[in-house]
């Protein structure tokens, strides 16, 4: 029964992919049912940008649903919420008026709230769901405020009318709407400092849902930002682009820094989502800046880089979450310190996780490398912009992106090395079993998708340039390189992942042949790891994830602010003997401590003040109502 539900979602995903791809390649389509929804009726429209995100949702929903058949098994709870989640996500990029959009957006938040609350008895899940609900509704409030302002000023609920009327609005009004909409959309995207819900909610949900939330749901925040800043409001002042670029840079670096010291496998991946949304926004922000200053070719390049990374991140992050889910399924723990040695027990999962790690660490020739390369190409060409202040912003973006990719590589050495290599660190890891067929099939399909996206940028990039051109109103360049090589306009740089792959293959043959020619010994002796002469090797002697990330903790201690806790209980007779030593080196979450804690304290102080007027007597409340009525009548 449950399996049937997942199959239905998979079929819907295939349909969404097909419709979305048709939209990307220019098929337009509208649907209007005026009586269904109040204030403007249900109105859906397909355009290239919406089509791209629709296809993305569908393409991730298919493997996630197939995976769920093996993962969630016959469990019926959550199937309906899952169905509602996927359908409402599909409706968001299609919505063409305010009411349709708001309903789809809120349904998406509600259904995912229920999915986060999957494990109702775990206090962590309950807290995660609570924070998620609060943050997503604060975001919704911002969104509604911005959209209602727009609709009041343009006197229409329809997005098409906003587009036509927006250039006539005052600059201050457009800025206000941009700030409100950006706050709402970027909160959904999980950008720093609006990220607090993301590392709680994503790990709490079942893994196929985490894959969808991290892979596509947070991308709808990026969709909304693109829609708002290019489509609804038109080209904005330079500071919009600067703000997006700097926020993206900060999020990418801070996201990966958090991931480095987190040893919960799924939470680590959630922090990497913050990082990758940051990388996407670096591309988008560059596109906005170039668009505002009239460099249309570069604006297209920046946007295409951001969109490519959006697609790539959906593929490899879904893959990583599914593989992490398989590990959690097999071991029953999310703590990396209790894993290890899984590559021998779960070879398929390990290979898929390694493929995803290579992609997210942007190692050539993976898909993540191609989109980061494109982003670099867009950023490095800022010299065509003769404004030193803006050039400095770009230089910061370049350095931030480079640091991020280096740290991401380090983090995935930790994630894969500690979880999958060496000896098992616990009983559960030693007894782990490979995932069932449907889960393996889903992971392999996503790994192949990553591979295809890495090898075929010459097919993908022109389509994305078309989508970007639809946003900026420029003409997409007819060709960007040839079938083999992707080249950036102006001979600034070019890349062919296909040729690199061939070269790597050829390069691999060379040492093999040379070793044979040199007459190298082919004998291999299997023996234990060298251990300074000790008798046996146990997992306690392995390097732990905590130890692995310690250099980073020390280098970036101004950010982590680690506390050293050392408690020694001495023997009552003599201080020379020690009964117990406890050592802890926890990091502090500075955003929670310095931003959210004071804000929440202020809010509760305000609530205490407001209690003065809450007497509890019905007569006083009746008096309030009368007073309010009188005031309203006077005002009217």
């Amino acid at each position: 029964m449950a399996a049937l539900g997942f199959l239905v979602v998979a079929a819907a995903g295939v349909a969404a992919t097909v419709v979305g791809l048709a939209g990307v390649f220019g098929r337009a389509w509208t649907l209007s049912v005026p009586w269904l929804v109040p204030l403007g009726g249900l109105e859906l429209a397909l355009d290239p940008l919406g089509g791209l995100f629709l296809a993305l949702i569908g393409a991730v929903a298919v493997p996630a649903s197939i995976y769920a058949i093996g993962y969630a098994g016959g469990e019926r709870r959550g199937v309906l919420a899952y169905l509602g989640f996927v359908v409402s996500m599909c409706a968001v990029p299609l919505a063409a008026n305010l009411m349709t959009f708001a309903i789809a957006w809120e349904l998406m938040a509600l259904t995912s709230y229920f999915l986060v609350l999957h494990d109702r008895r775990a206090p962590d899940s309950v807290r995660a769901a609570w924070v998620y609900a609060v943050m997503s509704h604060a975001g919704l409030a911002c969104l509604l405020a911005g959209m209602l302002l727009l609709s009041a000023w343009t006197d229409s609920w329809r997005f098409a009318d906003w587009r036509a009327a927006a250039p006539g609005l005052s600059a201050a009004g457009r800025d206000l709407v941009f700030v409100l909409l950006a706050a709402g959309f970027l909160g959904k995207a999980g950008i720093i400092p609006l990220h607090v819900w993301l590392p709680l909610a994503h790990p709490a949900a079942p893994s196929h849902v985490s894959a969808l939330m991290s892979g596509v749901m947070i991308k709808l925040g990026v969709y909304g930002l693109l829609r708002a800043s290019f489509d609804w409001l038109g080209p904005g002042p330079a500071w919009w682009g600067v703000a997006v670029l700097l926020l993206g840079t900060a999020s990418s670096v801070i996201g990966v820094l958090y991931a480095l010291v987190d040893h919960d496998l799924k939470r680590l991946l959630a922090f990497h989502s913050i990082e990758n949304i940051g990388i996407i926004l670096i591309g988008v922000g560059a596109g906005m800046l170039y668009h505002g200053t009239g460099l249309e070719a570069l604006a297209l390049l920046g946007l295409a880089a951001g969109l490519y990374h959006t697609v790539n991140h959906a593929a490899f992050k879904a893959l990583l979450f599914l593989a992490a889910g398989a590990v959690v399924h097999a071991t029953g723990t999310r703590n990396m310190e209790e894993m290890g040695g899984l590559i021998k027990r779960m070879p398929w999962t390990a290979a898929c996780f390694l493929a995803g790690s290579a992609a997210i660490a942007a190692l050539p020739p993976s898909n993540g490398f191609v989109s980061e390369w494109l982003t670099f190409m867009a950023l490095l060409q800022n010299t065509r912009l003769a404004q030193p202040a803006l050039n400095l912003v770009f230089a910061l973006g370049i350095a931030g992106l480079a640091l991020t990719s280096g740290l991401a590589m380090a983090c995935f050495v930790k994630a894969f090395g500690i979880s999958f290599l060496a000896l098992p660190r616990s009983e559960v890891a030693a007894r782990a079993q490979e995932a069932p067929g449907s889960m393996r099939a889903a992971m392999v399909a996503l790994a192949l998708l990553c591979l295809g996206l890495g090898l075929g940028p010459t097919l993908v990039v022109p389509a994305l340039l078309g989508v970007a051109a639809g946003l900026t109103g420029a003409v997409a360049p007819a060709a960007i390189g040839d079938w083999l090589t992707l080249s950036v306009p102006g001979h600034f740089g070019s890349l062919s992942t296909l040729a690199i792959t061939l070269a790597l293959g050829g390069g691999l043959l060379l040492p093999l042949v040379l070793l044979r020619l040199a007459g190298a010994a082919r004998r291999v002796r299997r023996y234990e790891t060298w251990g300074c002469g000790r008798v046996l090797q146990t997992a306690r002697m392995e390097y732990t994830a905590t130890a692995f990330s310690n250099p980073f903790k020390r280098v970036f201690d101004f950010f982590y602010r680690p506390e050293k806790r050392l408690e020694i209980a001495f023997h009552p007779e003599s201080r020379l003997f020690v009964e117990r030593i406890e050592y802890g080196n926890p990091t502090r979450a500075i955003f929670e401590d310095w931003l959210y804690r004071p804000a929440l304290d202020a809010l509760s102080a305000l609530a205490r003040r407001a209690r003065v007027i809450q007497s509890g007597s019905a007569n006083v409340y009746l008096a309030y109502i009368l007073a309010a009525l009188l005031v309203l009548l006077v005002l009217a």
Binding site: S494, L508, L515, Y527, P551
Partner: protein, 313 residues
């Protein structure tokens, strides 16, 4: 097509065959500087030959990642040799950009660090953790220094940069150029595991980075790892000399100009090797947690270099 293939083969041959010699010369020079006789410059070839004949001992704890890594390392270095303009300013892969090169090196580091963890020994993990920390912190410097170069050459293509600076040498007359060189030089020390970041001659557990990571390798696997390490050093030094001093490089693919270019390269590399030997003799290894300060310094140099380019434009 044929020309490209010839260039690729020549460049790969020069890098693959010359790398052990570079390491040998460096060792000999360092020994002479401290009044030791030192080994012959050809010693690394003998070492590789010896290792190839020995049987390999592989830990039972390891997986296929451990055995694949030496091949991956050598492969990335060979492909990097196709990308770097070694003798001719034209490279076989026309899209050879510096960003691709840096990410190829990162691919090698990624696998080597995994192999370090694979045997389950604390040394390997320690080396991996330190190696990825150094590599990650060096990354922003590289990209910014490259940006400073790409700014003036108007391309990120390595061959393009070399050709542009060879054609218009006055472009290099910019303080930004010198700063970028200094920044990249420090990164080279970090990335190739030289003093003061890492000491390639030590096997003291608590100080080593690269040597700790490859501690479990033996036999032909160790030979491949050592060879790849030598090639990385060769490639980095060639890149430094050719990007900043492109004299003597050829744009023709004919025997005589190529031979002259080889001599020029040998001369330039000899000078840089002597400088490196002097530096390594004069300096002590930095404490591990002072290394980030050095890298932050090199990052500041790279940032200054970019700023200088904008100001002096």
């Amino acid at each position: 097509m044929i020309v490209d293939l010839v260039i690729a083969l020549v460049h790969v041959a020069v890098v693959a065959a010359g790398a052990p010699l570079l390491v040998g010369v460096l060792r000999t020079l360092k020994a002479r500087l401290v009044s030791r006789r030192g080994p012959s410059p050809w010693q690394p070839y003998a070492d590789l030959h010896k290792l190839l004949r020995k049987e390999a001992v592989v830990s039972t704890t390891t997986s296929w990642v451990f055995r694949v890594t030496p091949y991956v390392l050598v492969t990335t270095m060979l492909v990097a040799a196709v990308i770097v303009p070694v003798l001719a300013s034209r490279t076989a892969l026309p899209f050879a950009g510096i960003i691709l090169l840096m990410y190829l090196f990162m691919l090698g580091t990624f696998f080597l660090a995994l192999a370090g963890l694979d045997a389950g020994s604390a040394f390997g993990g320690m080396g991996s953790s330190r190696a990825v920390a150094v590599a990650a912190l060096a990354e922003p410097t590289v990209i910014l220094a490259v940006f400073a170069l790409a700014l003036r050459a108007d391309t990120t293509n390595l061959g393009g940069i070399v050709e542009r600076f060879a054609r218009e040498p006055w472009l290099a007359a910019n303080p930004g150029h010198l700063l970028a060189f200094a920044a990249l030089f420090i990164v080279m020390l970090a990335e190739t595991g030289r003093l003061p970041v890492d000491n390639p001659a030590t096997h003291l557990e608590l100080t080593m980075i690269h040597e700790a990571m490859v501690l479990e390798y033996s036999g032909r696997y160790l030979a491949l790892v050592e060879w790849a390490g030598a090639m990385k050093l060769f490639l980095f030094m060639t890149l430094l000399t050719n990007l900043f001093f492109p004299w003597g490089m050829t744009s023709l693919v004919e025997p005589v100009p190529l031979l002259l270019a080889l001599l020029a390269l040998a001369g330039k590399l000899a000078l840089l090797t002597a400088a490196l030997a002097l530096l390594e003799t004069a300096m002590a290894k930095l404490r591990l947690f002072r290394v980030p300060e050095l890298l932050a310094g090199s990052f500041a140099l790279a940032l200054l270099s970019v700023t200088a380019v904008f100001l002096v434009r």
